[in-house]
Symmetry: C2
Subunit: 284 residues, 2 copies
């Protein structure tokens, strides 16, 4: 269902809301073994990536999500060198991670190679760092990858997945979190996209519980705008066994020496603020 054929619409049934973007044309459509990928050219948001009918990103506003998934975690770790990205096939998170000069190696493990190949063609900016010699692209199952990873092999693990339905369900499970904890060095930082603070509060609460049961002693949710996702407000949840997540390398963030569109030191601090309703009150 859509406004008419000039619009792409995503309905969010659990909130009885819908978001639509006016489109000029469909640029690509294919069914992979994992999911249905579509790319549209929109009127005001640049290109739009859709997977299984859900908005994944647009050229115009993906900076919120990719910057807030990458930089807070990397500026929280004292010296991130080895980074693992699970999912993230559009390569936008990889692009942000590679801006950190301390990073020596980034492994991106995406289950569906077609997402990356489609994005190389239609979201060339996001993929512009893929040839960086520090970057490795692996098209495999991320859960199995982490299970097979050596103990303490990573400084930061970033889970950049679709919603917790279909192929991504296992990425929101306690067993997966326990594997990630094991694959991180003791000061390691984990971060995962965690849906809308307004609409998916119970998912976020459950994630915190599972992360703690999985061996992480500190957990903290970051909030940030994301105009093309339901409610326009999104979150990422960090976890660590020994690093205090509300502290970060503030001076390094202030002197970061690379360009961002949304992220800066003050925005990092701001994203750590916990809204009144997330400190024990029932969800609105």
């Amino acid at each position: 269902m859509s406004l008419n054929k000039e619009w792409f619409t995503e309905i969010c049934p659990e909130s009885g809301s819908a978001f639509s973007l006016k489109v000029k044309q469909k640029l690509h459509e294919e069914q992979t073994p994992y999911q249905r990928i579509e790319v549209y050219e929109t009127e005001h948001y640049g290109n739009l990536l859709v997977i299984d009918g859900y908005v994944m990103l647009t050229d115009r506003d993906n900076f919120f999500y990719h910057e807030m998934l990458a930089h807070p975690a990397l500026f929280t770790h004292p010296r991130p060198r080895r980074v693992l990205i699970i999912g993230g096939g559009d390569c936008g998170t990889l692009h942000e991670v590679l801006k950190h000069p301390s990073v020596e190696r980034v492994q991106m493990v995406e289950i569906d190679e077609r997402v990356t190949r489609v994005c190389e063609r239609h979201f060339a900016d996001l993929c512009s760092a893929n040839d960086d010699p520090r970057a490795e692209l692996h098209f495999e199952d991320g859960i199995k990858w982490v299970e097979g990873a050596p103990d303490g092999g990573y400084d930061v693990i970033i889970v950049d997945s679709t919603d917790p339905i279909g192929p991504a369900v296992g990425l929101f499970a306690e067993d997966f979190y326990r594997s990630c904890r094991r694959a991180l060095q003791p000061q390691g930082v984990f971060v995962q996209q965690s849906e809308s603070p307004l609409l998916h509060r119970s998912l976020i609460d459950t994630m915190h519980e599972k992360l703690r049961r999985g061996g992480f002693d500190d957990t903290h949710t970051l909030c940030f705008p994301q105009s093309c996702y339901p409610s326009g407000w999104w979150s990422a949840t960090m976890a660590s066994a020994s690093t205090v997540l509300t502290d970060f390398r503030e001076q390094d963030a202030a002197d970061k020496g690379f360009a961002t569109v949304y992220y800066n030191r003050d925005i990092h601090r701001a994203a750590l603020a916990v809204p009144a309703f997330m400190t024990g009150r029932p969800a609105p």
Copy 2:
């Protein structure tokens, strides 16, 4: 244009986007001398107020806007006693202002009495403080009211208007800002809703210029989520002649002693953070 008759849809032409809410029934519709008012019962957002086809508020998420319009300005002023609200006919901002025990008198000046009468019926919670003896409701032209106000009569002026089109255009004008400056005491704080930081960046930049030309030496934009407005991200712009807007009564905010859903001291600080793209870069 709507998804179908079960949905209310607002199209934002300047961004080629649309937001829809699933509705159960239309509860009210009338054409006043100023505008067309509609109220719907939605499936998951409670009641929905629509004016001239634009979403004004829903039961579920109006707390973001009303709290962020009221509390940062009131906790920035050293001791707010006399408050003027221009617009705000739904009475949600009035409701928040009256939570401050220092406030002795609040005048709300709304041009269209019918907005308030409709909200008294369909948004009773927002109007539940209207009988407070400190509250005065005046149904008059806000621009003329401020022009006729005595010098320095107010500690805080809040402009809670519709978009800067139609009857609200004059509320975004330099002459109006100059009148507000005159009607505020020297430490007075002005605040006005200022649209989406993502979509209406040039409006915000122009507001800062006009406010400064109107006699305010400090101006600062606050950002916060607002899921039912275009982009899901909204702003309020504060101005003052002599109060530093990035400082506020932090301890009083921490010990506020009244309930809020979103606002708290940390969220106040967070809303003051300026995204990278608002510090000189072109709008995304």
